[in-house]
């Protein structure tokens, strides 16, 4: 469903992606792991065409998103849901209006149908009492759950999660991942989860890919990654500060 072919990307002459190739099958959840600053979020933004690669291609069901423009790109993006790292909620809108926004702007549903969908979605993420609040009035966990509700409300085929549990307390983090699992069971969406929190994500991921220094170092089932003999993969999983990778090299 998603095929990334040898993408390269540099920012101000500094190479971030140096030939990333990756496949994600329909209905699969892929966990994309790797150290900070290695380009995981950059890959997600390439997949939805927010960033164009210097070289290589990204294909969604065979369509190269890098060459799409205008209404074609807008219509392809309509198939995606995206949970941004910081939530990216509109600060001038309430929680309810944030979740309703894509429905109001992209669908022909009437206000009552929109209300029902939003109320259901907010209930699903445990925010049924927070609809009237503004993003500045809610906690980080609520903010992420609101963003999650907004990403889900259009029932997208593909959902990209950029660090969905980072900065949350363990209970909320657990709840969000349970939610991803249960919604996946209902909707069978294709998902990519960018994360550092391996222990939490491994149980819900069908496959794991590790990004290291701009390339995919290892990819496979969670068990294969856990039993990998690669010293860098092993170090990342164990969280050890000893070699091969140290602070000075990052």
């Amino acid at each position: 469903m998603i095929r990334i072919e040898d993408i390269h990307k540099s920012f101000n002459g500094f190479p971030v992606l140096k030939g990333v190739s990756l496949d994600v099958k329909k209905g699969e959840i892929l966990a994309l792991i790797g150290g900070s600053g290695h380009g995981k979020s950059v890959i997600l933004k390439h997949i939805v065409g927010l960033i164009k690669p210097d070289q290589g291609g990204i294909f969604i069901d065979g369509i190269d998103i890098c060459h799409l423009k205008g209404s074609e790109l807008e219509s392809l993006r309509g198939r995606f849901g995206y949970l941004f790292q910081g939530g990216a909620l509109f600060s001038s809108l309430t929680v309810f209006d944030n979740v309703a926004f894509p429905l109001r702007e992209k669908t022909k549903l009437n206000e009552e149908e929109i209300r029902q969908r939003v109320v259901h979605q907010l209930e699903e993420v445990g925010l049924s009492d927070a609809g009237h609040k503004f993003p500045a009035e809610i906690s980080g966990g609520m903010l992420k759950r609101t963003a999650f509700a907004r990403a889900l409300v259009t029932k997208p085929e593909i959902i990209l999660f950029d660090e969905p549990t980072t900065g949350l307390d363990p209970v909320i983090a657990h709840m969000i991942l349970d939610l991803i699992r249960s919604i996946h069971a209902n909707l069978s969406f294709t998902g990519i989860i960018v994360t550092h929190e391996l222990g939490r994500v491994f149980p819900i991921a069908h496959r794991v890919a590790m990004l290291y220094e701009g390339r995919i170092l290892a990819a496979g089932a969670p068990e294969e990654i856990l039993s990998s003999g690669d010293p860098i993969v092993r170090q990342f999983i164990s969280g050890s500060a000893e070699r091969p990778t140290q602070f000075s090299e990052r």
Partner: protein
């Protein structure tokens, strides 16, 4: 050789920026000319750019008119022409000071806020979120500001002019003794429709200019709080300079 290369780089960089700004404006105009227009967003912006700037326009308009009345009276008194105080104040305000000072005030009050708002939306990925929903951010962020500024600026300028004329009358007429009939009567003899239209065209173009520059700078803000603060400063400085530059061009063309 190094100097030539550097000069070339600066020139090419400058041309590229002008080109990007031109494309930004063209995209905004294209979106404004094609449906759907976000009417509620436009009304919100008219409220913000127009209504909420009224107090500052009332104050600056009143004091500008009062200064003109005072200076004008003493200058005209040397030539024994204080009867022309009304036309002098009115023409100065309607043709020049009204549009320019209104433009500068709106740049400071609303233009800076436009840049900061869009800049914060850029760095907090809210613009990416709009794009991700398959929507065009220009329709929500740039077009409403452009249309609202084009509507609000002439109205604010009209308020500025009227308040300024009465400010001039307060000083020239009430404090310094120019008669009410002389002040307003001479005004209607000397101020023509073309003068009013000149001010109107200027204020329309200043509205477009402020929304264009301030939205552009916010849309392309750099990273973090520093990026937004830099973009805001640049937007205010560039808009102010361009208002004065464009005022000169328009005055040359319209005379």
């Amino acid at each position: 050789m190094v100097l030539v290369r550097k000069l070339g780089e600066i020139t090419l960089g400058g041309l590229q920026r002008i080109g990007t700004m031109g494309l930004f404006l063209a995209n905004a105009i294209l979106c404004a000319a094609t449906p759907p227009l976000k009417v509620s967003w436009i009304i919100k912006q008219i409220w913000f750019i127009g209504f909420q700037s009224t107090l500052v326009i009332l104050l600056t308009g009143a004091f500008s008119g009062m200064v003109l009345g005072l200076q004008g009276f003493y200058t005209l008194n040397r030539f024994g022409s204080t009867a022309l105080l009304g036309p002098m104040v009115a023409l100065s305000l309607i043709k020049e000071l009204g549009p320019v000072l209104t433009g500068l005030m709106v740049t400071g009050r609303a233009g800076s806020a436009m840049t900061a708002e869009i800049g914060i939306m850029r760095i907090s990925e809210q613009i990416d979120a709009i794009e991700m929903m398959g929507l065009n951010p220009f329709r929500y962020l740039v077009v409403p500001k452009l249309i609202a500024a084009i509507i609000a600026l002439p109205l604010l300028t009209a308020i500025f002019d009227v308040v300024g004329i009465f400010g001039g009358y307060f000083v020239g007429g009430k404090l310094l003794g120019v008669g009410e009939g002389t002040y307003f009567g001479e005004m209607s003899n000397y101020v023509r429709l073309e003068d009013v239209l000149e001010g109107l065209y200027k204020s329309l173009s200043f509205g477009a200019l402020i929304a264009w520059i301030c939205s552009y700078k916010g849309y392309h803000a750099g990273f973090g709080a520093e990026g937004v603060s830099k973009a805001t400063t640049q937007a205010v400085v560039l808009s102010s300079v361009l208002i004065l530059f464009w005022d000169y061009i328009m005055t040359s063309l319209l005379f």
